[in-house]
Amino acid sequence: MKSNNESNVLMEKKATKNSAIVKNIVSRFTRGNVNLQMGNYLTKKDQDARKKVLEQYDFLS
């Protein structure tokens, strides 16, 4: 169980590092859109994550 948690944490760190690398590459090669150059963009994965958080929130409470 402990090794599963550790590997999950490692995978999350790697995913964060990878997305930071991707944002860096996008910023370096983008021309013409300020938001892209600043790394302010959303992928489908990001939007789905936002929707998932909203799905679990109870607006009626």
Partner: protein
């Protein structure tokens, strides 16, 4: 279409039909581009899937201009139209998500304050917000083309709701401040009461001691 006109393959009727379809696609493309830009400015994030849909629409539009038959041109234009509608849906969905997050933050900020004096129909509005949330969280892959119009209406609605709540922050802050002052006053008077009781007890005890002496 340029190809078809150049080769004289279009009758006046089909040329008129195709021209109309080009105009419709052009209008939807412009609308989609506006929505993508609007949401980019609102959310401070460019939504990549909606930009991709515009790219695909552009691809089908360019294929339509060099199509060899009017059937192919019509097919490509209809595909471009579908991509424009998907781009609108995708962009608007991000806009609705943005406003739902604004409302979530609002309800957290005023979780200890009674909001109904300022917003009397709060329960009905909360139900409506839930319904809008359920609409966008429902999985949709191929239905985005059919629901782009409804999504746009919901965006306008949630925008108005969020504006109403954000504009009530000033009044709610005043109520919250009033509550804070009243509870502080109540706390002070409670402390003074306890201090008074302790002093009274002390005085009585001292009186008893000195009287006995």
């Amino acid at each position: 279409m340029i190809n078809l006109i150049a080769r004289g393959k279009l009758t006046p009727k089909t040329q008129k039909k195709l021209s109309k379809l080009f105009v419709v696609v052009n209008e939807y493309y412009k609308l989609a581009e506006q929505k993508v830009k609007l949401i980019e400015v609102l959310d401070n994030n460019l939504y990549i899937p909606s930009v991709n849909e515009l790219r695909y629409a552009g691809y089908h539009l360019s294929k339509a201009t060099v199509a060899n038959t009017h059937k192919t041109a019509t097919r490509e234009l209809n595909k471009a139209l579908k991509h424009c509608k998907r781009a609108i849906y995708d962009a608007i969905e991000v806009g609705i998500t943005f406003y739902l997050e604004v409302l979530k933050l609002f309800f957290y900020d005023y979780r200890l304050v009674v909001i109904t004096p300022i917003i009397p129909d709060l329960t009905a509005i909360k139900i409506r917000i839930s319904e809008i949330r359920d609409f966008i969280t429902k999985p949709r892959t191929n239905e985005r083309v059919a629901f782009w119009e409804e999504c746009t209406q919901l965006f306008i609605e949630i925008q108005q709701i969020a504006a109403q709540f954000e504009n009530s922050r000033e009044e709610l802050n005043k109520i919250s401040e009033q509550h804070r002052i009243e509870s502080q006053r109540h706390r002070h008077s409670t402390i003074l009461t306890y201090v008074g009781i302790i002093i009274a007890i002390l005085v009585s005890v001292l009186t008893i001691i000195y009287t006995h002496e």
